[in-house]
Amino acid sequence: MNHSLSYEEIFDRNYGVLTLEEQEKLRKARVTVVGAGGVGGIAAIQCARMGIENFHIIDGDLFVPSNLNRQMLSFASNLGKSKAEEAMRILKDINPQVKIKITADFITKENAEKLLSQTDVILDGTDNLAFRVIIHRAAYKLGIPSVWIAVTPPFRGGVMCLSPVSTPYEKALRHPSAGRGLTDELEKQVIAIKDERARFSVSKGALADWSDKYLRGEKAWAVISPVANIVGLLASFEIMKLIILRSDLVPVYSPRLLLIDMASNPMVSVQSPADGSWDYTKL
């Protein structure tokens, strides 16, 4: 195509919902997405379509067939390819002006602060609970707001924004590691929360057979496309709120939580925990 696209042309339809000043804030904002999978992928796409032009995508994984059931960046044609590199290609196809830094590697205790430092918002779209602690600890230390998400069988999920002045991640989600050094033993205890979530999800309608197999390592985390994607959509909306900072559009800061249960009425609600923190095994 010869036609060169202008920013104003692409985002013309945003005006009226967003002011020009807010659009400019989005254009200049830097968003880091850790994990370009089921939630991170669609959230990155939404951010690009809202006019965000600066991204850092961090993911050391490659696309595999079981990603196709939900991950919006995955296609039969890019199986085996780097998620971070494919995210860059796809986001640039939405807005060729986007500037994307990619890190085709995983976040670790050693590199977290360095990788997450040059950004305005961090989306944690990872699925290992120990890694998530590392991400939100680094964000807190760096003074950068971060967005936590959860996708839980059968039809549940959550989105929560964290900032240096809101309830810290591990406290809000009642982690055994809260306020302590992250030892190998504590990492194991944190990771074990996910096993409890698998057990609890049966009471919400997930198959007991799946839960048993998940706990034995025979099956991966169960998720269907619309649930992962609605979580990603809601997370992208929170990212927008964290960037434009409109006084009547306050992000859902911890310990408040955007709760999603597509089998309940309402399907999405903002809730505060009764005693200041959430039992993560039930989210």
Binding site: D61, G80, F106, N128
Partner: protein, 75 residues
């Protein structure tokens, strides 16, 4: 044969460890990776293929897999 047991470890640790071991694997040697998590098996397999190497997967039992990968001098 070098062995890497990543049983009990969740993604992405098994892939991170596999990457490191393969990088350090001498030419002509074989690495045996044991995992008990299907998600890790899929990721390890994809990584080995992307590195241009061949992975041989063997099911040890209902939730344990052995992955053999060689750095063949002729490849």
């Amino acid at each position: 044969m070098k062995k890497l047991d990543v049983c009990g470890e969740q993604c992405p640790y098994p892939v991170i460890k596999t990457k490191k071991e393969i990088k350090e694997l001498p030419e002509g040697e074989t690495l045996e990776i044991i995992t008990d998590y299907i998600c890790s098996l899929e990721s390890i397999h994809a990584f080995i293929n992307s590195a241009g190497l061949n992975a041989e997967v063997e099911k040890v039992d209902s939730s344990k897999w052995k992955v053999l990968v060689s750095k063949n001098k002729n490849e």
